[in-house]
Symmetry: D2
Subunit: 401 residues, 4 copies
Amino acid sequence: MPRIAGRHFLQIPGPTNVPDRILRAIDKPTIDHRGPEFAGLGKSIFHNIKQIFKCAGPVIIYPSSGTGAWEAALVNTLNPGDRVLMYETGHFASLWKTVAEKLGLVPEIIASDWRRGADPEAIEARLAEDRGHDIKAVCVVHNETSTGCTTRVGDVRAAIDRTGHPALFMVDTISSLASIDYRQDEWGVDVTVAGSQKGLMLPPGLAFNGLSEKALKASEKSTLPKAYWGWPDMLAANKSGFFPYTPATNLLYGLSEAIDMLLEEGLGNVFARHDRHAEATRRAVRAWGLEVFCVEPREFSSSLTGVLVPAGHSADSVRKVVLERFDMSLGTGLSKLADKIFRIGHLSDFNDLTLLGTLAGVEMGLSLTDIPHESGGVQAALDFVAGSAAKETAQRVAAVR
Amino acid sequence: MPRIAGRHFLQIPGPTNVPDRILRAIDKPTIDHRGPEFAGLGKSIFHNIKQIFKCAGPVIIYPSSGTGAWEAALVNTLNPGDRVLMYETGHFASLWKTVAEKLGLVPEIIASDWRRGADPEAIEARLAEDRGHDIKAVCVVHNETSTGCTTRVGDVRAAIDRTGHPALFMVDTISSLASIDYRQDEWGVDVTVAGSQKGLMLPPGLAFNGLSEKALKASEKSTLPKAYWGWPDMLAANKSGFFPYTPATNLLYGLSEAIDMLLEEGLGNVFARHDRHAEATRRAVRAWGLEVFCVEPREFSSSLTGVLVPAGHSADSVRKVVLERFDMSLGTGLSKLADKIFRIGHLSDFNDLTLLGTLAGVEMGLSLTDIPHESGGVQAALDFVAGSAAKETAQRVAAVR
Amino acid sequence: MPRIAGRHFLQIPGPTNVPDRILRAIDKPTIDHRGPEFAGLGKSIFHNIKQIFKCAGPVIIYPSSGTGAWEAALVNTLNPGDRVLMYETGHFASLWKTVAEKLGLVPEIIASDWRRGADPEAIEARLAEDRGHDIKAVCVVHNETSTGCTTRVGDVRAAIDRTGHPALFMVDTISSLASIDYRQDEWGVDVTVAGSQKGLMLPPGLAFNGLSEKALKASEKSTLPKAYWGWPDMLAANKSGFFPYTPATNLLYGLSEAIDMLLEEGLGNVFARHDRHAEATRRAVRAWGLEVFCVEPREFSSSLTGVLVPAGHSADSVRKVVLERFDMSLGTGLSKLADKIFRIGHLSDFNDLTLLGTLAGVEMGLSLTDIPHESGGVQAALDFVAGSAAKETAQRVAAVR
Amino acid sequence: MPRIAGRHFLQIPGPTNVPDRILRAIDKPTIDHRGPEFAGLGKSIFHNIKQIFKCAGPVIIYPSSGTGAWEAALVNTLNPGDRVLMYETGHFASLWKTVAEKLGLVPEIIASDWRRGADPEAIEARLAEDRGHDIKAVCVVHNETSTGCTTRVGDVRAAIDRTGHPALFMVDTISSLASIDYRQDEWGVDVTVAGSQKGLMLPPGLAFNGLSEKALKASEKSTLPKAYWGWPDMLAANKSGFFPYTPATNLLYGLSEAIDMLLEEGLGNVFARHDRHAEATRRAVRAWGLEVFCVEPREFSSSLTGVLVPAGHSADSVRKVVLERFDMSLGTGLSKLADKIFRIGHLSDFNDLTLLGTLAGVEMGLSLTDIPHESGGVQAALDFVAGSAAKETAQRVAAVR
C-alpha cells in the first residue's frame, strides 16, 4: 500500500486526537515515583483535577482503562449480593451491568430504546417502590458513547432526592468529562467514573474515581474483595503526592499538561465549543436527509453524534469508504446498532476547521456508497459555525462599546 | 488570551505542516558528524535525493535558507560583472535579482504582470539577440510562491535550445520540488535551487543546489568570491557521506525520513494529489465569485492558489479574521500585491479533509468580512474531490475485471 | 533552585531509564483501537512477546501496574479460601501476600531473612506435607526488587515436581524479565507476572500474565469474582489483535519497539550485559568495604544490588546526598530494611559507561557521609569491565583466526 | 551488528549532547514566520540572547554553520584586499584564515605551536609596527576546538588598546560561548562569531554574529559582495522579531529553550561546572601518565581537553576502541595533530556522573590499546569532584551559620 499523506482524522468518540503538547509531555524521561520531584507533580495533579470534576473530595487515579474505574467504583462501596439499579442507555451501560454481575452484585437494569438518556422519572418510580432500600446504588452513564445520548444527571439526582432513597449515586462520565458540563458535587454524585482518552485529550491508560464523603463512608464497610482498586491505600499515599504502587508516570505528565490546557482555554469555553460542533454536526446530518440517532433534543450529546442510515443500508459501508479513501476513522454501531448507525466523534482537542473537514469526509463518503442522501450537509454546518463566529464578534463589539 | 483548541492550520505556501514522522526524526540525539553512523546517513541521503530532483549529478545540501541556495547557485558558476537573464514572475523572482545585484552580477529582468509564468518566447527572443553571448545564465522560478503561477521549465529549455545559446540554466524550485513534477536532467537544468520547508515537508533550515555537468565545469572557472557556498569542498567531503563543516544533523535526519515518505507514497501520487487539491481550490474560488490570480490555466500552480479580491477590498482582512477566529494562517500579498491577494497553500503533507477544512475556513472568513462573494465554494471543492475519488474507484474496479 | 545540568541518573531498580527510541514511539498519535492498523500492531506484539517470556502460550497485557498483574494471576485461577504457598523473599513478596489476603485467599508464607532467594527445599518440604493438596498455588518472586536476591525458579520447579504436588506455579518476574534469563515453559511456570517499567525499558503502565495450559484450565473453574482482569474476554479479543476494552495504545507502541530492541541486541547479550554490570557493582561494593546484602552468590541479582551500610549508619544519607549533589536516584531500603540498605539499579537500557558514572556517584556520595568506607570501588568495577572487554576482544580475534 | 544498549556518549567537543528539553522544543510544529506568534518568539530571543553574549548591541542569527558566521563577520565589515591579522592557534584558526583568503582578503597569520592561546604581546608587536593601519581587523579564536587552548581575549584587547590601533577585533567563540566566561562588551569585541551546537546545547544549524557599534559603522562602508550574510536587512527585520528570509524556525524554538535553561542554571554556575570538569579531566590525564596538550595553565580550555599520546603510539587507536567497545565518540586530532592527540569534550549539558563515565571510558579504552599509561585517572578525577562537592557543602553550611 502506498503511504497516505497528511494527518489521520481520528473521529471515533474516543480515543481522540491527542494534542502535540500532551504527546510531548508524555515522552519526557520517567522519574523516580518515590522522589521529591514526583511528589510535586502528584500533589499538583490531585489538587487541580478537582476543578475538572467540580468536586471538593479526592479523585483517585488508576493505571487502567475506564472499565477498571467501573469496577473500582463498585468494589469499593458495595457488598456481595448488593442490588444495583442501572439504566440501559446503550452498549456501555450494558457492559457496566456485566461488570457488576461478574463481581457478584445483582444489577437491575431499566430497559430503553437506546435513543435517549436515562429517564429520571423511571428511576424515581423504581426507587419509590424500593421501600426496604435493597437498592444500594444507582448507576447511570452521563454520555452514552454508543448512541450519542446524554443523561440529565442533575435531574436524576433530584429524582433520587424526591424519594429520599439512600442509594449511592454513581455516574460514568468517560466520554463527557471535560467535553460536556459535569458537576460532581452540585449534582450529588458519589462516585464519578472517568477515563483519560476522551475529553481529557490523553492516550488511554488512566482511569478515575471522583469520590463524595458518602462514598468514602460506604467504602469503610464494603466487603467485596479488592486489592488493586482499593481506595484506602490510594488515599493514604496520595496525600503526599505519591501512589501505593508504581503509577503510570508518563501518562501523569500528560494529565498535568491536559489540566493546564483545559484551564487555559476555560472550561466554559471548552463546553461551548463542543456544543457548537455538535449542533453543526446535527445540522449536517439533517441536511443529508439522515436521522440523528438521539431523539430527545435536550439529551443530544456534545461529544459525538450517532447517525442512523435508512433501513436496508449499511452504516459500516460509510465507515469503510471513509477510512480507505479519506483516512478518517468513524465510530461503528455497537451490538444491536451494528451496521445501523455510525458515530461521529467531535470532542477533545478539536476546532472548527477540523470539524468541517470531518463532515466533508462524511459527505464525500456517503456519496461513494449507495445510501440515499442529499448533499449540503457541510454547507449547513459551515453556515452555522460562521454564524456563531459572526454573533460572537458582534457581541464583543457591543461589549466594547 | 484563552487557549485555542485543536491544531493550527498552516496554509501559507510554506513553511508547511511538518508531519509527525519528520518532527520525531529531527528530535533524535545529535550524532558525531565525523563518525561511521553519520557516513551511512549522509551517503544514503546523497544517493536517494537524486530521485526527488530527477537528476544523475550531485545535490549539494547547505545549512541555510533558500536565499542561500540562490546565492550559492550564482557565486559558484559566475564571474563578477556577468550578465544574467531573469524573469520577473513575481516577488521572489525580484528578490533573486536583488541577490544577483548584491553579488556583483548584472541581472537583466524581463518584466511581467505577475499573473503568469516566465514566457519561453520572450526568453528565446532575448537570447537570440545576444549574439555575443554576454548573458551567462538564464534564471527562472518554477513556481512563483508570491503569485501561484508556474513556469513551463521544459518549454524554456526548448526555447534556449532553439537559440543555441550557451547560457547556464538555473531554476528555483523552492515551492515546487516534491509538489509539482520537476525533472532536472530531462529539462536540461544546470542548477536547481531548492529548500527544505515546502514540498520536502521539513522545517526550514536546509537548502539545495542540484548540479549538471555543465554547472560543474562552469564552477571551475568561476571567480566570484565564495567560501561557505563553495561546491568543491562540499563535493569532496560528500563522496564519503560527510560535510566540510558541521552540517545541520537533525534536519538531515528529517530529510532522510522525508525522502522515504515521498518514495513510499510515490512521486506520481504526490503530484496527482497536489493537482487535485489545486483544482478543487480553484473551483472553490470561482464558486465564491472571486478570481484566481494566475490567468494562464496551463501555468496554474499546484502548490498554492493566489486569490484576488475585488478592488477596493482588503485581502488582508480575510487573513486577519481567519487567523483570529479559525486559527489558520494564509499567505499575504507581497510587495505590489499587498492587500490585493491572499494565498492559500495546499502543498506538502496534506490530504483531502484538511483541504476541505482549509477551504471552509476561507469561506467562513470571507463571510466575516465585507468582501462581496457567494457561498458554495466548499461544496464545489467537495464535489470535485468526491468525484475524483469515485472516478478512481471506478478505474480500480475496472482494472480488477 | 537553579537548574541542574545533564541527564538525571535514574538508578532505582525500576522504573528505569527509558531509551529515546521508546519515548519517541509512545508519543505517536493514538490510533483507532478497533481499526485494521491496530490489529496489525496487536497481532505482532502478541506473537513476538512470547520470545521474551520464552513461552508458547498466550501473554495477557493489561493497562495496569505490576500489582494488577499479581491480582490477575490469582483471581483468574483460584477460588475463595484457597490456600496459597508464598515465600517471603522480601518486601514485594510480602505485598503479594497482602494482595492474596485482600482477595479472600489464605496465603501461607515461608519466612526468610530476606538475604537469599526462595529455598526450593523448604518449598518441597511444605508441599510434601500437604498430602490433601490444600495448597492450590506456589508463588515466588524471581528477582526480589527490595533485596537484590533471585530465586532459582528452575530448582523450585524441580522441587515441586519431586513432590508430585499439583499446585499451580506462579512467578513474579517484574524486575527480572528481559534482564535476567527467564524461561516460562522450560521451568514449568503456570502464570508469569510482569510489568513494563523494568527490563522492558518502558514507562510504567502495562502489566502482563504469561499463561500455561494448566493455568488456562484452572481459569475455567475459578470462581473468584473478576471483571477487568478476566482472561477469557482478553484471549477472545487478542486472537484478532484487539482488546476487550480500550488498551493503553501509546504504551503498546513502546512495547512493540522494546521487543524489537531486545531482539536486535539478542536476549543472550542482554543477560550477559546485566550479569557483567552486576558483578562490577559487587566488586565496587566490596572495595568500598561494604556488604552486598544478598548472601548467596548463586542468587545474586543481575538487575540491582542491595548495599548494606554498617550498623548505626544511615543508608538514606547516601541516597539523599547522591540525589542532591549528583542528581542520581537510588533505591531506598523498604519496610524492615529502611535506612539499612540502599539499592543500586543496573538494569534496562544501560551501558558500561553509565554504570561507571553510577558507581562514581555512589562512591562520591559515600565520601560526603560519615559512613566508614574505602575508596577504590569504581576502580575495581572499571578493571572488571575493561577486563571483560579485553577478554571478549581476545575471543573474537581467536575466532577469526 | 547487534544493537548496543544505553545512550551514546557524544564526547567530541561539539556537537554536544542535546538535552531532552531542547529536542522536544525543536520538534514542535513549525509556525508562520510572518505571523504574530513568531514575532513574539523572535523578539524574546533577540532580547535574551544578549545576556549570553554579554553585549548591548544586536546579535544576528543565521540558518548556517559556524563557518558561515566566520564569513559573515568578514564580508560585512571589510573591503576587498583588506589585510587581516589572525593568529594560528590551531586547525580552526587556520580554516578561518582560508575563508578570509577565499573572500578576497589578505590574511596575515602569526604562527604558533598550537599548544597555547594567541599571544597578546605578539599581536601588540605586530600592530605597533603597522603604523599605516593597513591591518583592518584582528581575528582570534577564544577557544581553539582543535587543541583545547584558550586565548585571553581581555588581554588581547588590552594589547590592541596599548597600540592605539583602530583595527576591528573579531573573536570566534564557537566552542566557548555559554561554556567559558565570555564578555563581548567588556572586552571590546566588535564581532563575536558563534554557533549553536556547543555550549548552547542545540543541534548544529544556527550561527551568530554579535555586533559592536564600531562593527556596525564599518559595515556601512564595507564593499565585499554579500547578500545572504548582509546585516542591514537582518537588523531591519529583527527589530519587529522577524527575519528577511525564512529562518530555521524549529532551531529557534530550541534556542529560546536553551537560553532559558542557561539562565535557570545561572551563567556563573555554568562556567564553574565547566571549570570543575576540565580540572577533573586534566587530573585524570596526568594520573594516566599522559600529557595535556595545552602547555599554558592559564589558557587551559574548560570545554575540552586535548590529550597527547606518547610518540610512536596512535591516538586514534583509543578513539576507535572506545567507540566500538564503549559507544563513546571522542574528538580526533586534526591536520598536523592527526593520530597524535585525542580530544575529550566536556561541555554543554553535562554533569559530574557523565564526566566520570566518560573518563572511565577513556581509561578502559587506553587499557585496550598498547599505549603506555597508568590506571587511576578516574580515581583522581573522582576525588577532585567529590572534594569540590564537599567544599561547596561546607561553604553552604558556613553561610547558613
